[in-house]
Amino acid sequence: MLTRIVTAYSPRFHGVAISVAAIVLAFATASVLLLAGGVNPIVAYVGMAKAAFGSLFAISVTVNKSLPRLLPALGIALSLRAGLWNIGAEGQLYIGAVACAAVALFVPPPAFPFGVLLALAAAAAAGAVWAAIPGVLRAFRGVSEVITSLMLVYVGIQVANYLIEGPWLVPHSTFPATRMFGSAFRLPILMSGTLLNAGVIVALVAAYAFHFITSRTMFGLWLRAVGGNERASRVIGLPVPWITVAAMAAGGAFAGLGGAVEILGVRGRLLESFSPGYGFQAIAIALLGRLTPTGIVASALVFGALEAGGAGLQVTSVGMSSSVAAIIEGLAVIYLLAGLGLVDAVQRRRAAKAELGKQQLPAAASVPRHDNGAGS
């Protein structure tokens, strides 16, 4: 059995510095690759910055691209508070998109805000159910949520593909997609001349909800209790299995909303492979954001800007522009993980020294080994 992998990313070290340093280092490393590929990195980055922030329109694209990453990242962070690794946000995102498409395609359009709200609610509910499956298996059967949530990603994607290529396929389309949704089910554009849509409101409300749940509610406290020490939580009488299921389901609801915001706000219909791995990138974003809502919003914007900026990258082949963004993202998290490891080692050494000074004993042996687990 995988033991409950409790996060070593406690709020103790909020270090924005370490995340920023990781991102800067990632850009530096990527410039070496760009040089090797015959591209001047400064020109490339200026091009990216222009494409990401050069105009109000560009900024709105950046924001739009950050939203489907931001929402699943909040969900992953929420589950992680309870020590649960929701690796399958990508699947929950697709199932959420399927649910909101079902509403948009088959419910008679109601008056303005209700159609969108209903579609959003359906997406959140579907994402929650999809994530609750690994939660239930974890809570009542002792099966690692890591593996089951990951496996369900590919089931979810194929469910979507089946519907898109089968019963929901719009005739005479050049690529597999459903028909366009009616305006009652679209997230409206907020600012004319830009692509900024009401999805940004959904995301901000979700970020606030995350903050509220984790810091102001009993449920948030339970999450941390279970994440911190599952055994102790059981002993004091917390319903640990149900908290586990609820933590996964709540995380899945955020991920489902991520799919809905992309579908209802940007695409206007359900189409195949609409996510290039938002749910997986969200894991990186949750960690770079140090599991805090503000940190996650900031990291999601960085990732959104990277993708929007990729379009402004003048490189030899089409695939290369999007790949630079992926490389920078991957490297940033690798550096973050290494940085966290370093900080941890330094802190342990300090703690060991302090202990020695206090006790006047050769007590280094009493310093607990870092086991990548609870209580950090």
């Binding site: 059995m1 995988l2 992998i5 996060t7 070593a8 690759l33 590929g37 015959g38 690796i87 499956i133 298996l137 059967r141 002792g142 099966v143 690692s144 890591v146 593996i147 089951t148 990951l150 496996m151 369900l152 990603v153 590919y154 089931v155 194929q158 469910v159 593909n161 089946y162 290529e165 089968g166 791995g277 997986f280 990138q281 894991i283 990186a284 960690l287 490189v315 030899t316 082949s317 695939g319 290369m320 790949s323 630079v324 963004a325 992926a326 490389i327 993202e329 991957g330 490297l331 998290v333 690798i334 993980l337 290494a338 966290l340 490891g341 941890d344 080692a345 086991d371 990548n372 687990g373």
Partner: protein, 303 residues
């Protein structure tokens, strides 16, 4: 279904199994030692890329496969540094490596192969086993494959012997189940995990190389297309046993072969259900047979 169609189906199932088998057996050994690689996909993809790179620059398929092994092992090395040296979660590192390697190999198509997008190498030819390939039906189905397919299947008994009969195999199992006990018996758990991880990377790399060097003869973006995750599922569905892993791989590639041949054979199941079946049956098996599907106790927990 005619006999010829059945022969082709079996031959395809076995041929498709090879890349998965390399990766899954590597992952099986690694997980038995306590190291989980969600980044198996990344290792395969890296191997698929470096394999083509090495083969095209050297003109030799042997160098190509060595290059594939090196590519997979390089990703494993990075995974090991992040997890074993810096103490990061193995699962997170794996996910991130998948993103990073997909980016790197896509970038590499342009950077290494340049404008020659269909940069191709001669592929590994079929090698009919003398004598056996002449057997009617069976010869066509089983013994007219390329050389690395036979190697992949020979690795099944080899890895079974390695895991259960050798001293090092015992050290691997001890490191995966009870690292503390293993240490007290003088096993260097960290060293064992490094070895199984790098071995897994090399094998997964060869599996990726098998896709490009024995199959397509060229590297395309995301050529592995999720096969690393199927291999991961096969290890679980095969209950961390070499024979079980092989059976799982064959079951999964049978569905893949069916997808390709479904229309020819007049089967009307939407192919998406065949694509999702490996993942679905793995989840269902985990849910139903919990007691009999027990992963190594210290899987994914850094030493």
């Amino acid at each position: 279904m005619t006999l010829t169609a059945l022969t082709l189906l079996i031959a395809a199932t076995i041929g498709l199994a090879a890349p998965l088998l390399f990766a899954a057996l590597g992952e099986m050994i690694s997980e038995r030692g306590g190291a989980i690689n969600v980044g198996l996909e990344a290792m395969m993809l890296a191997g698929a890329f470096t394999g083509v790179w090495a083969a095209s620059s050297s003109g030799s398929l042997i160098i190509g496969f060595l290059g594939a092994a090196a590519g997979g092992a390089a990703v494993a090395l990075l995974h090991g540094v992040v997890c074993f040296v810096f103490g990061a979660e193995q699962v997170v590192s794996g996910v991130v490596l998948n993103i990073l390697v997909l980016g790197l190999t896509t970038y590499g198509i342009g950077a290494v192969f340049g404008s020659d997008m269909t940069h191709s190498v001669p592929t590994l030819p079929n090698f009919p086993v003398p004598g056996l390939s002449g057997i009617p039906f069976l010869g066509q189905a089983f013994f007219t494959q390329n050389l690395m397919v036979y190697v992949a299947f020979l690795l099944v008994p080899a890895s079974a012997w390695f895991i259960s009969r050798t001293k090092f195999g015992l050290a691997i199992r001890a490191s995966g189940e009870q690292p503390a006990a293993a240490r007290s018996m003088g096993v260097d758990v960290r060293k064992v995990r490094w070895i199984v991880l790098l071995l897994c990377g090399a094998l997964a790399g060869v599996g990726g190389g098998q896709l490009t060097l024995a199959g397509l003869g060229t590297f395309t973006q995301n050529v592995t297309a999720g096969r690393g995750f199927i291999a991961l599922a096969a290890v679980i569905f095969g209950r961390w046993q070499p024979l079980g892993t092989m059976i799982a791989v064959l079951l999964f590639t049978l569905t893949e072969a069916l997808q390709i041949r479904a229309q020819v054979m007049g089967i009307h199941v939407p192919y998406q259900f065949l694509v999702m079946s490996p993942y679905l049956v793995t989840v269902v098996a985990l849910a139903l047979f919990v007691g009999r599907m027990r992963p190594p106790k210290s899987l994914g927990v850094n030493d």
